[in-house]
């Protein structure tokens, strides 16, 4: 059916006032309001319904449109936030463009909040309908334009997140470009020794993933590559991928997934890092373990929350408690396997000979205590303890956040393995120093309220994951925001965790903030499925409530482009000179540009200055302009 889009015709307005049972009818004189509506300019039909949203109410709207040749429909009932789609669809079914429908809220904003003042509520309902009529007369039909989507994906980052996302898209049948900065796939995880909970080697765990990505016919892998430029909008990105020593690749892309990962914070100047030997970060320690190049150890100290939680970085890095616990267990269980010859490996860690200084009698006492805790009678035999239990592992922590099912079990396991947890507060940070030739941790014992010292052979610092230094560059190229700490910022922290506010670009993994591998994989799968929606649909509908440039007034100053939160406005040279251009597919219709344009050259469709002013004016005075 052809829609009645002839908005230039004189408006013929129909007003349907709803009783909503007694919800409105009980507190507002609905029939008198409907009678009043008939007196307003251009209103050719007005009636009241018991329930406008019920079948007979909707039929009344459709018949009203036909019988009275209505080209504007006003329903005065509940809130547009719940019922607008229903009435709009009804209008469309009768051939009326849905943007010619006006909703007047006389329930939530009137009858329900003025239940004891029927006269005033009735007067307010009249005023609100008058405002609706004033607005309806100026409404125009709008079209939602279809924009084609190129059915190719782009994933930036070849770590676990990026590979998972790329594979998901590729498995759905879409060609994917996977761009990795380094010469090999695997990202952060390829440096790690083993993964907690599974206790499997990190390399072995991600090997199948890497092989699948390399073999997949739908994945075009770009190693040693970075993004050179990204232009366009959802469905229509023109990207240039630069590869070292090769020619640039140009591609047309539908949707983009950002999975650029994170780095470990380097604790320069903290806890003797880079100052004393055998002070390493968690990841450096994992590398040592992986290469089997650990020095001889008897006393190991972990310091948690180094540089995080209000120190260099404000946030909690989420993963380090569990990584720390895992490594503590590794040391106790696997130490013999990872022991190696430092000199041969040539790593930064030097071996320092340290003699066990605890007197034998104290050691004996400790062993006896352990025996008792196990429920064994009398003295426990040393033979029952594994050789590595001679290693003392102490975790200096602020709080242990071993959340969830598996992590709590791992934590309990570490306690069973005699890993000691010593709490410190931000007021009394542990200190790492050399006492003569001896690496030492000084700390304040919170229970004893005493300063203590502990000679150690190695200090392992748990530092937070931090944003990639080049995230800012990429964020500018893609025109998506970074949060305060330099991580990519999702559209909504709860409801849209893998979307960017800008349509067509998605985010997953540690570039969004610290997360463990399980979480990265979950996010990657989610991002891929979000990114696949426009790809498989083949088109997107552009918002009809969008801004529109009057090129006669526009001077091309570009203020609208800087105000736009969605990068939906560009300034381009056209036949009339530099002018703002609105990318309809990217515009969300907030109107920030319209209210900010110095020349008033920007019109917000469906919420124009005139529409807002006449609506407001009709609320102040009994006039419909």
């Amino acid at each position: 059916m052809a829609e009645k889009n002839e908005t230039k015709d004189k408006p013929r307005i129909g007003v349907f006032v709803c009783h909503c049972g007694s919800n409105i009818g009980g507190f507002v004189d609905v029939p008198s309001v409907a009678e009043y509506a008939k007196t307003l300019p251009d209103v050719v039909y007005a009636t009241d319904n018991l329930y406008t949203c019920a079948d007979d109410g909707l039929t009344a709207i459709r018949e009203g449109i036909r019988k009275h040749n209505l080209n504007r429909v006003i329903v005065a009932s509940c809130t547009p936030r719940t019922h607008a789609p229903l009435f709009q669809a009804t209008c469309e079914s009768a051939g009326l463009n849905k943007y010619l429908f006006t909703f007047v809220n006389i329930r939530e904003h009137c009858s329900w909040v003025h239940m004891k003042e029927k006269d005033k509520a009735t007067r307010k309902a009249r005023d609100l309908i008058r405002m609706g009529v004033a607005r309806a007369r100026l409404l125009e039909a709008q079209e939602e334009a279809k924009v084609d989507v190129a059915a190719t994906g782009l994933v930036i980052g070849g770590g676990v997140s990026g590979m998972t996302a790329a594979l998901s898209l590729a498995d759905m049948g879409f060609p994917v470009h996977l761009v990795e900065k380094e010469g090999e796939l695997g990202g952060f995880v390829k440096n790690l020794n083993n993964l907690y909970v599974t206790e499997k080697s990190a390399t072995e765990t991600i090997k199948p993933l890497i092989e699948k990505v390399k073999a997949h016919k739908n994945i075009k892998l770009h190693l040693n590559s970075t993004m050179k430029s990204v232009e366009g909008f959802i469905g229509n990105y023109n990207v240039v991928i630069g590869t070292k020593g090769e020619e640039d690749t140009k591609a047309k892309i539908g949707t983009i997934i950002v999975a650029t990962g994170a780095l470990e914070f380097v604790p320069e100047g903290l806890y003797g890092y880079n100052q004393y030997p055998n002070v390493v970060t968690l990841t450096e320690f994992e590398i040592l373990c992986k290469k089997k190049t650990l020095p001889k150890l008897k006393n190991v100290a972990f310091v948690q929350c180094v540089g995080s939680r209000g120190q260099n970085k404000s946030y909690c890095s989420r993963i380090c408690c569990n990584v720390g616990i895992k490594n503590a267990i590794n040391i106790v269980d696997n130490y013999e396997n990872m022991l190696g010859l430092m000199e041969k490996a040539g790593t930064v860690v030097e071996k320092i000979p340290v003699e066990q200084k605890v007197p034998d009698e104290i050691l004996d006492r400790r062993r006896r205590r352990r025996g008792r805790e196990r429920g064994e009678e009398g003295e426990a035999e040393e033979a029952k303890l594994g050789p590595s239990e001679k290693i003392e592992v102490t975790v200096f922590n602020r709080d242990v956040m071993a959340y969830g099912v598996e992590h709590e079990l791992t934590y309990n396991k570490s306690r069973e393995k005699r890993v000691k947890f010593v709490r410190y507060t931000p007021e009394h940070l542990p200190r790492v120093y050399m006492e003569g030739n001896q690496l030492t941790v000084g700390y304040f014992h919170e229970t004893l309220k005493l300063e203590r010292t502990m000679p150690v052979d190695m200090v392992i610092l748990a530092t937070p994951l931090v944003a990639q230094p080049d995230a800012g560059e990429l964020s500018q190229m893609l025109k998506v925001p970074l949060g305060q700490e330099g991580f990519f910022l999702e559209a909504h922290v709860k409801l849209r965790p893998v979307d960017f506010a800008t349509d067509g670009i998605y985010v997953c993994g540690t570039c969004r903030g610290p997360s463990d591998i399980t979480e990265c994989v979950t996010q990657a799968a989610a991002a891929a499925s979000r990114a696949a929606i426009p790809l498989s649909k083949g088109y997107v509908l552009a918002e009809a409530i969008a801004s529109e440039v009057n090129t006669d007034l526009c001077v091309g100053c570009g203020i609208c482009a800087t105000l736009c939160p969605y990068s939906a406005i560009t300034v381009e040279r056209g036949p009339k000179g530099m002018k703002a251009v609105v990318i309809k597919a990217a515009c969300k219709g907030c109107g920030a540009c319209g209210a900010g344009c110095p020349e008033k050259a920007m019109t917000m469709l469906h919420y124009t200055d005139e529409q807002l002013i006449v609506e407001g004016l009709a609320g102040i005075k009994e006039v419909v302009l």
């Binding site: 936030r81 809220n105 939530e108 909040v113 939160p565 109107g591 609320g619 102040i620």
Partner: protein
């Protein structure tokens, strides 16, 4: 009959309008004077729309957005904050009480808060009494000033500064120099002062030629400033010398300045 203020509310679709809905769903009662206009975002509320409402006789205007950081459109409420700050400054210049304009953040879950705000705002404006420019006999002097204020927020220079505000503050100007809030407010204030004075000069010289001295007295400005403004207005072809008496030039607006229905 006791005074029933005319109150206009501009509420953003995603938070404050939804908060108002929740007030209804929860049956929180509040005074019925407010009339609500829905906008998609508080950033849509152009300062000149607010001033127009006052010119038309609103006793109070309420603008509601999402809480800072929760804007559905990321940062629209920051813009609204800047813009309403400007409107408040102008209201002060016009001699209207600042309490007549209220900008608040109401989330979709704050029905009770919305009702409370409405109760508060209605009581506050009721206490102030009718707006000086509303009713049968508006204060013409203040009405003229309001028209001048509306001209100020429609001025290209003021709007450009306002439009660039967040950018200058966050990213810096073309030379990459970031500006502090005080510095930017200072710039914006002086631009507004200038434009306000200029519009008032145009209004004063609209019907009859006036001398700099006369203008300085009427507008309570130093004669030197008045002359500077006249030079600017002459450059914009908005003012001309009408006649010279002895050594005193008399100036008149180039075209008669229309204010509203006058």
């Amino acid at each position: 009959m006791s005074f029933e203020p005319k109150l206009m509310g501009f509420l953003c679709n995603w938070c404050s309008y939804a908060g108002a809905d929740l007030a209804g769903v929860s049956r929180y009662q509040y005074p019925p004077e407010i009339r609500i206009v829905k906008v998609m975002c508080s950033a849509r509320v152009d300062p000149d729309i607010v001033l127009e409402m006052f010119i038309q006789g609103a006793d109070g205007v309420f603008v509601g957005g999402c809480h800072i950081g929760d804007c559905h459109y990321i940062k629209g409420n920051y813009y609204a904050q800047q813009r309403m700050k400007v409107v408040k400054k102008l209201l002060a210049k016009c001699g209207l009480e600042l309490e007549r304009l209220r900008l608040e953040w109401v989330s979709a879950s704050e029905g009770e808060r919305f009702a409370k705000l409405m109760t508060e705002f209605t009581a506050q404006v009721s206490e102030l009494g009718p707006s000086p420019v509303s009713g049968e006999q508006p204060d013409i002097k203040k009405l003229k000033l309001l028209f001048a204020a509306k001209n100020v927020v429609e001025d290209v220079r003021v709007r450009s500064l306002l439009g660039k505000y967040v950018e200058f503050y966050e990213k810096g100007n073309v030379f990459g120099r970031k500006m502090s809030e005080e510095e930017l407010d200072g710039l914006l204030d002086s631009a507004m002062d200038d434009e306000f004075a200029r519009v008032n000069i145009l209004l004063a010289a609209s019907n009859k030629p006036v001398s700099v001295k006369e203008l300085a007295t009427t507008l309570n400005l130093p004669a030197k400033r008045v002359l500077q403004h006249i030079v600017t207005l002459k450059d914009r072809d908005l003012m001309k010398v009408s006649r010279i008496e002895g050594a005193t030039p008399f100036y008149q607006s180039a075209q008669s300045v229309r204010i509203g229905g006058e």
